[in-house]
Amino acid sequence: MTGIFEKNVPGSTEILRRSTVGIAGCGGTGSNAAVALARAGVGHLILADNDAVERSNLNRQCYFLRDVGKVKVEALASLISDIDCGVDIEAYRIELTPGNVATVFAGADLLIEAFDRAESKRWLIESWCTSFPDRPIVGASGLSGIGRSSEIFVRSSGNIHIVGDEKTSMEIGLCSARVGLVANMQANVAIAVLTGLEI
């Protein structure tokens, strides 16, 4: 791990090393955001997802051909370990529900919402904010299609931060670049919130 963080923004690494971030869903946004957070220096990650990697995930999710068939949280934990950033990872293969979110992510300072379905996004935001009203959540809404980078924005209210265009739905198709853009913006917001820097 020697030197891995020497190009980090001064003052950020020490804070991020002490931080725990939960990743609810390890698909397009979750896997890419988790890698960005690990590279930035976040010290603890709690990964939760119930799926295995499929070939159709590889167009946008941070997995490789060798991961197809593997449990996502285990494949993601493995690849993050390869970055050698010394992150402590808790990986749960679990179906997240309104009833277990507070338990699975009890130790998280901040949660990344990375679900597919809008209905699931809503109950996750509600469960998190009800259980931990003082802890931030960074969600994604509207990341489908191609191009239109300038239509992606961050809106915040209290401890809720939503990244995306709040419009496009996955039925029109998902592209690596636009999904990755939103995932990295989620990570960027999370890093800013955790370090107390401007969002």
Binding site: K121, R122, E126, T130, G142, S144, S157, G158, I160, G164
Partner: protein
């Protein structure tokens, strides 16, 4: 006066709930999540959460994909 998304303004009325406001705004979004003055209002509470005059309401549209 109620402010929605830092943009729209609606006259406040005594007894006005989040549900009344959503009906008045005629949102056709399938799924939303709402905060009032920075705090989340769960969907089950829309019908009984009373808005105060000068409330700042934020409505996030939730789209599929993640």
């Amino acid at each position: 006066m109620i402010t929605i998304n830092d943009r729209d303004r609606i006259e406040w009325k005594e007894g006005m709930t989040v549900e009344n406001l959503m009906n008045e705004m005629e949102y056709d979004y399938a799924l939303i999540t709402v905060t009032v003055d920075g705090s989340l209002v769960p969907e089950d509470d829309y019908g009984n959460f009373l808005l105060k005059d000068d409330s700042k309401v934020v409505v996030f549209h939730l789209a599929h994909g993640g």
